[in-house]
Subunit: 133 residues, 4 copies
């Protein structure tokens, strides 16, 4: 996506590993949209009553990924305590959502795919966290 070019054109040198940052933003955008779509698909399923936990955790995960994607995108005057805590919280939200989506993966294809996206986003958050130390 084009936003990556803009990040590379920032006037100040990056204080964080750029590849880890770009991958984290990318996964957060994809995961936020995937969870918004999976919650919406759950809502249209005939077994929606059994999908309440999945919908709730997808909504939480979308909110966490949105905020994390925005915060990690900013390169001016970063506070590493904040970024570290935020990617850690996002990782927790992705894990909980992935685990719940996996429980429905056999009967809802959208949950199977969503779980994969959540797992990738969790990994990208964990990798960025490791770079922050």
């Amino acid at each position: 996506m084009t936003f990556q070019e803009i990040i590379k054109l920032h006037p100040r040198p990056a204080s964080l590993d750029r590849d880890a940052v770009l991958r984290c933003i990318d996964e957060c955008l994809d995961c936020a949209a995937s969870c918004t779509s999976c919650a919406d698909a759950d809502l249209a399923e005939s077994d929606v009553q059994e999908m309440a936990r999945c919908i709730r955790l997808c909504l939480d995960c979308a909110d966490a990924c949105d905020a994390t994607g925005r915060i990690v995108t900013r390169q001016t005057e970063p506070d590493l305590r904040v970024i570290g805590a935020v990617v850690k919280a996002c990782s927790a939200a992705c894990l909980a959502c992935a685990e719940e989506c996996e429980r429905h993966a056999a009967h809802h294809e959208h949950c199977r795919v969503c779980a994969e996206v959540c797992r990738r986003c969790k990994q990208a958050c964990d990798d960025l966290f490791a770079k922050i130390g």
Copy 2:
């Protein structure tokens, strides 16, 4: 991005033109991230005083694109009046941001690229609006 697969796995048939919807979501995600990054780059420029309007319109555009991306993603029980008004507002936010970024395109490369993303997102919103009628 993977979220497009999830949208295609939705249990109910789409009520809107799917290609127009997918393109609108894609552009909204890219534009939201681009505007968040451009506002942040502006903030680190030595002429930040002259960039106040650009920062403000980038922040507005990011907020409008975020909300629009989420709302357009949902396929269950859509209300076309809501979707129409939302993509129209997003188009207005993209246009204002593009015009301001273009004023700085010669001296700030990130503004030049951001203006292009905003123009593309405006077009995608206008195209979806035209399909809603």
Copy 3:
């Protein structure tokens, strides 16, 4: 809420009617939180299958109100075309959500209260729109 004090301490004179702005922000915050909570309450109801449209419109309304509250809060270098289009879209989202919540008001008290908040927020958006002209 304290944020109103901060808005009044802004270094530049407001370009929009301040009372209309403050009321619009206040209602957007309350409506976003009310719709987030109503969607969540719907999800825990035994008739959740019948609440799909209500959940979807509550989620849309929360997203629209969040973006609108942020955009209307900003006083530096406003673009009135953007603000006008955004409050108009928010008004449409509030109306659709109010109408749907009203259909469930007799059996779900949270929908009855949520509809009232949506109606008030719609009015605040319409009033601000009228001031922009």
Copy 4:
């Protein structure tokens, strides 16, 4: 605000201490709006160059508070690991923003007030975290 009534009308009993939850949501809404407004006021100040870190941390804090307010509002099928990590991250964002705003409190009244709101929101997040324990 009226959203508190809706939270109390939720069909399932709360799993978390209700007073701590309501206070956390209230402070998150106020803090998100305060930080959005403070960043915007900073942008209009004649010493905006010195306010870059304050603007950035206010934007981060607004994003963290928005996501936290939404996640804490939901009562259906909560995951306490997610909620705990999210309020902890929000507390870190509030602390960093409060400390930076305090540095400008003597010359920018809006920063003085914003720092107070951030301190209160941090406390409300910490108190809720303690209840989750």
